[in-house]
């Protein structure tokens, strides 16, 4: 089955970031295809490479990056949500005059249309969040 996963909550604050990850991993292991993982609301905070969790805790951001690279998954941060919360890639830094970037490897920033397209193109859209 072709799946799009929407993650609405930030890492560490909320279990959704973990359950979405474990769901994605399990789905891939079962042979399903992930069309896209779309991060919205505080979920965009899953895509900052500046995260530094304590050493004895899981690294949620790196975990996503590794999953994306291993399985070539399209992971998209909503641009409007990312701008509000300070998640920046090269394009956004240039457009908005920011002096740095913080997007983690394997993520890209794009529009909400990518979420709607995920709903259209996939067999199931699964939302993780409150």
């Amino acid at each position: 089955m072709k799946l799009t996963i929407q993650v609405n909550e930030g890492p560490y604050q909320h279990q959704s970031a973990d359950t979405a990850y474990y769901f994605a991993k399990a789905a891939l292991e079962k042979g399903h295809e992930i069309f896209r993982v779309f991060f919205y609301h505080d979920g965009v905070n899953n895509g900052t490479r500046l995260t530094t969790p304590p050493q004895d805790d899981r690294n949620i951001v790196n975990r996503w990056s590794e999953l994306a690279q291993e399985h070539n998954i399209d992971m998209v941060l909503c641009v409007a949500a990312a701008q509000r919360r300070g998640i920046v890639d090269d394009g956004e830094a240039e457009r908005n005059g920011k002096d740095t970037t913080n997007i983690a490897p394997g993520f890209r920033i794009s529009g909400l249309g990518q979420l709607v397209e995920g709903g259209i193109q996939s067999d199931r859209l699964i939302v993780f969040g409150d």
Binding site: V116, G119, I120, L125
Partner: protein, 135 residues
């Protein structure tokens, strides 16, 4: 439209305490360009999103409630409001904005967008959708 999916946006939270309501509305507006069969549902505290006379001047947040009245222009004409959620909060339809859309097939006659449905009826509507966006 034959390939269009039935998209429903479910709104369950009050408008300003969290950002879900506003960012949900942003998805609806963007999604309108994709020509799917769109409907919205308002339940639980989400019914507060549609109330009349919202004034955010005291909290420094943007009052986005006027945007709901533009949904008709985005061809969003099916807005389901759960009756029990209104009643549990002491609200009636009169407390909500009067939302309308123009029917091109009937000489642009203005029609009500809001459909008041019971919890059981809304469950049936949800069961008939292809894609549920849950906010």
């Amino acid at each position: 439209m034959s390939d269009a999916k039935k998209f429903m946006y479910i709104n369950r939270k009050a408008p300003y305490g969290t950002i879900y309501a506003w960012e949900s509305l942003e998805v609806v507006l963007i999604g309108a360009a994709f020509e799917q069969d769109v409907s919205l549902a308002f339940m639980d505290d989400g019914v507060y999103q549609l109330t009349k006379g919202q004034d955010t001047s005291g909290i420094g947040m943007k009052n986005f409630s006027p945007t709901y009245s533009a949904l008709g222009d985005y061809e969003v004409s099916k807005i389901y409001v759960e009756k029990e959620s209104l009643e549990e909060r002491g609200l009636t339809l009169d407390d909500l904005q009067h939302l309308v859309w123009e029917d091109e097939d009937e000489d642009y006659a203005e029609k009500d967008s809001i459909r008041l449905v019971s919890r059981a009826e809304l469950a049936d509507v949800l069961a008939g959708q292809d894609v549920l966006f849950n906010f």
